[in-house]
């Protein structure tokens, strides 16, 4: 099951440049929340702060409180590796391990975590590929084909399967469909909709129609601040803030 995410007073910097300003945002469990905004608004930085990916960039740092279920992501005893296991991430460009087989791609995270039981491993790989809606397309050549041999859309679903294999509670997606054709995009979108039964999903997207299609809640970021956060229907039909309206109607950004 997914867990809720509660962000309070989150600030982030790249060197001396502050890229996020006191973000407060609550993302409910088993919902899809979209984060939209123009380039450079801080939306990617925001999601990368949720699983402590932000700090992997030199001179980047973050302050504030992020609670994912009962886990205090920035608490003193928090372990970034454990954080990233519980909060999976999928990126814009599919990045499977190119020479590994499909099976090994999905099993990679589990093996890294010391998982050795072959039968259980097989079960988890199958479950993850099914959840990622890829199983039927690859089940006959799990060990024969490499990750790189798949199409772009399949590679992205493979990456989703890989993220799901370690059984996270939250799935962060940074522009997961922007490099895909419309058919693959609609598969990913349908998948996101299914995944929320098991996970809490946060998706960054440039594509507002995509946000409107997949997310129940949408937050609009501008210059590192969260301008408006509401039900998706409200944001796209009657936004409260003029800046949100100007952005989603294409008047700027």
């Amino acid at each position: 099951m997914g867990v809720g995410i509660e962000v309070r007073g989150l600030n982030a910097w790249y060197g001396k440049n502050q890229s996020l300003h006191s973000i407060d945002m609550t993302m409910p469990a088993n919902h899809v929340t979209a984060v939209i905004g123009p380039s450079g608004c801080g939306k990617s930085t925001f999601v990368r702060c949720l699983n402590r990916m932000h700090e992997t960039i030199p001179e980047a740092r973050a302050e504030g409180s992020v609670k994912v279920g009962d886990m205090d992501v920035y608490g003193s005893g928090s372990d970034p590796v454990e954080v990233r296991r519980r909060i999976g991430m999928v990126f814009q460009k599919p990045n499977p391990f190119p020479t590994m087989s499909i099976f090994d791609n999905v099993a990679a995270g589990l093996k890294l975590n010391g998982f050795r039981n072959r039968k259980q491993l097989q079960e988890l790989v199958e479950r993850s590929l099914r959840l990622a809606a890829l199983w039927d397309e690859v089940k006959d050549h799990l060990h024969k084909k490499s990750g790189a041999s798949l199409s772009g859309g399949q590679q992205q679903r493979l990456c989703i399967a890989r993220a799901l294999a370690v059984e996270p509670e939250v799935l962060l997606m940074d522009e997961p469909a922007s490099a895909l054709d419309p058919i693959s995009t609609s598969k990913i979108e349908e998948l996101i909709f299914q995944l929320k039964q098991h996970y809490t999903v946060v998706i960054v997207t440039h594509n507002m129609q995509q946000a409107a299609r997949v997310a129940e809640l949408t937050g609009f970021f501008l210059m590192g601040s969260l301008i408006e956060y509401d039900k998706t229907e409200k944001i796209f039909t009657t936004p409260a803030d003029k800046r949100t309206e100007d952005y989603i109607t294409g008047r700027f950004g």
Partner: protein
């Protein structure tokens, strides 16, 4: 890309206002036909209807294209939805003007009699409502649209009064039944036009404020 979209929205507005002009003209001609008992005005209304129908199709088509090609959001989406609904209302206004013209043609084929109903006064009120509703659409003025909503009750009362006095008249003197019935139907057509003006005003408020004010009260999206 966007400026082309903006151009599309401007075209849509202009087309709708032009259609509004045709609908207003139809009401005025129908009213003039009643005042002057001149069938020439009735014919103008009847022949003018096809232009209104054509405008309706044209506007629907452009609105559909904009929805499909530009995927508008927020205020733009509300604007196009409002245009589609106003378009249908204006077409119905045209139909009601035709109904009035047909009743007037029937009236003038009968001997002229005195009836205790002031149709021109009612038509003035209705025409003002349509004008104001279109004005509110032109400038996106929700407060003008609100004033239109206030006027609807007055026209409703005028129609109710007409109904009472005309039924009395028909009951007392059956030689004038046909004329009284014509006038009654004209009053009803005018009242319907006022309802359409009300709908238009509500759609303008929805476009500008994002509030649904139909059926009394303001409903804002939660």
């Amino acid at each position: 890309m966007r400026s082309r979209f903006q151009q599309g929205l401007d075209d849509l507005k202009e087309k709708l206002l032009r259609m509004g002009g045709l609908a207003e003209q139809a009401i005025d001609r129908a009213t003039e036909a009643y005042r002057s008992r001149d069938s020439k005005f009735c014919q103008m209304v009847l022949t003018g209807e096809s232009a209104i129908n054509e405008a309706e199709r044209d506007i629907d088509e452009l609105a559909l294209d904009l929805l499909a090609m530009q995927q508008p959001m927020a205020v733009d989406l509300r604007f196009i939805l409002a245009v589609l609904k106003i378009n249908a209302d204006l077409e119905r206004v045209g139909d009601q003007a035709v109904n009035i013209a047909q009743r007037v043609l029937d009236l003038i084929s009968e001997p002229e009699i005195e009836l205790p109903v002031d149709i021109p006064r009612m038509a003035d009120a209705v025409s003002t409502m349509v004008q104001r509703a279109l004005e509110s659409f032109l400038d996106g003025k929700a407060e003008v649209a609100e004033a239109v909503l206030q006027m609807d009750g007055i026209v409703d009362r005028m129609k109710d009064e007409a109904f009472v006095v005309l039924v009395q008249k028909m009951t007392g003197d059956c030689s004038c039944t046909r004329q009284a019935l014509d006038v009654l139907l004209i009053a009803r057509a005018l009242e319907r036009i006022a309802d359409h003006a009300t709908n238009i005003a509500e759609d303008v408020i929805f476009w500008v404020r994002g509030a649904d004010v139909r059926h009394g009260g303001a409903h804002y999206r939660e």
